[in-house]
């Protein structure tokens, strides 16, 4: 059959994958702590039909050969860990990380996941939990009757008990960093898991040793840029159309030969 059919088919499926990442980015444009994905394309292997320098007669040779490409593939998607913009909420349990680092979340199965989404709440036991009810790690319990909860930029959580003048220290929020954050595996619910590629977590105090600092009463919005995504969507759509045009052209060629011979 016509090889161009298969080559354009790789083009079509790659553009399809790209559109999926773009639509996922756009769908999460309002998700707190979301990091956008970029699809990485690479050309596929080239097939050598004829090497340059082949002899065309006993004493002459061809100056160039024929190497045909076999299309394109998506190598993978990379998460872009650039900073999203800050949004003021004034809620005492909203946290935004400015700079590197991720918050640790204890999952029910005993493992630890990581997030940049700092929308925390207090459960019935007074523990700080995410919107899904997973515990913040290290666990911090807020006793009853605490007013004026303060979370410092270094992660110290403190508050004052009603009727007592002294500030009471309740706990310390630590951040973790990875040598290759792009290697983290997104598992949904705004959570990431460490992988072989991300390396081991490096725990640190917010604001120290290159770790980002915490901002209370703020949230980090998604780092998706709508204009960029829409422009990418246009180029992806047009590239898709052109590849499908090649498919229909190749189809017409095959149709023409089978009808005319």
């Amino acid at each position: 059959m016509h090889p161009a059919l298969y080559v354009s088919q790789t083009g079509l499926s790659a553009q399809d994958t790209k559109l999926t990442t773009i639509s996922n980015n756009l769908a999460n444009v309002g998700t707190i702590g979301f990091k956008r994905d970029d699809a990485v394309f690479q050309d596929l292997l080239y097939q050598i039909k004829r090497d340059p320098g082949a002899l065309s007669s006993q004493d002459s040779q061809l100056p160039s050969g024929l190497q045909l490409g076999t299309g394109v593939r998506v190598v993978g998607t990379t998460k872009q860990f650039s900073q999203g913009s800050m949004q003021m909420t004034e809620r005492p349990l909203d946290l935004a990380i400015e700079g590197r680092g991720l918050l640790q979340i204890a999952l029910p199965d005993g493992t630890t996941a990581y997030t940049r989404d700092g929308q925390f709440q207090v459960d019935s036991d007074g523990q700080i939990v995410t919107a899904n009810g997973h515990l913040l790690e290290p666990a911090i319990t807020i006793p009853e009757g605490i007013s004026q909860l303060t979370i410092g930029s270094d992660g110290v959580v403190s508050g004052t008990q009603a009727g007592e003048p002294d500030l009471q220290q309740l706990g310390q929020i630590d951040l973790v960093d990875f040598i290759n954050p792009q290697g983290l595996k997104a598992i949904g619910n705004n959570l990431f898991r460490e992988t072989e590629a991300s390396g081991d977590p490096i725990t640190g105090t917010p604001g120290l040793d290159g770790m980002g600092s915490l901002n209370q009463g703020m949230l980090e919005t998604s780092n998706v840029e709508v204009v960029t995504e829409l422009v990418n969507m246009i180029t992806t759509q047009r590239a898709y159309e052109m590849n499908s045009k090649v498919v229909s052209t190749a189809d017409q060629m095959l149709q023409f030969i089978s009808q005319n011979l």
């Binding site: 161009a4 190598v75 040598i179 290759n180 792009q182 290159g210 992806t236 590239a239 030969i257 011979l261």
Partner: protein, 246 residues
Amino acid sequence: MDKALYIAMTGAKQNMFAQRAHSNNLANVNTTGFKEDFAQARSMPVYGEHFPTRAYSMTERPGTSFEQGPLQETGNNLDIALKGDGWIAVESPSGEEAYTRAGDLQIDVNGMLRTGAGMPVLGEGGPIALPPASSVEIGSDGTISILPLGAGVGLAQVDRIRLVNPDPKDLEKGDDGLIRLKDGALAAEVDDSVQVESGFLEGSNVNSVASLTEILSLSRQYELQVKLMSQADQNSEASARLLQFS
């Protein structure tokens, strides 16, 4: 049988090869740093002891267009594009030096700087490995400076990306899509005039309109060859009819 049939057949067959080269260009119209391949046809006379009327057609790839692709802003510090001529040196899977213009760099778990396709980027002394850093900056001459984790202020220079600019006529595209020096070409030297723009990526240099037009024109050319083939068929049918006993 009329030999014109075979000549038309090679024409149609080689048209399909050229078609494939162009469709590969179009499939890579969104691939970072992709360089468009040319396709051309050559007439190939048949040598031998006979009347020299036959010349078959032959499609070949005479080279790759090294024209610069459009620069796209990404805002990512580790995305680099080259302004003007030049190449980023990477280590190919077989261990030798190869070149690319796809500058979507990443840092892996061991601190190695790699392209989006996973090739280690070469520096002044082999593949570049970066210590843990809170930020990485790439200067206009390929110098990499980092802000080490926990070091407070002050950028430290670690390495410099090996940027080269060999004569384009010494370069060819390998079967893995990386650019390599041709056999017998002089080893490439570091070229200080190659300019890096950080925060940008170079798009594919495929001209989609030209490629699509080329594909359409090739498809018409192909129909012409097929028409000739059916013509040759009709000719021999007519002569067969003349010779038939009826």
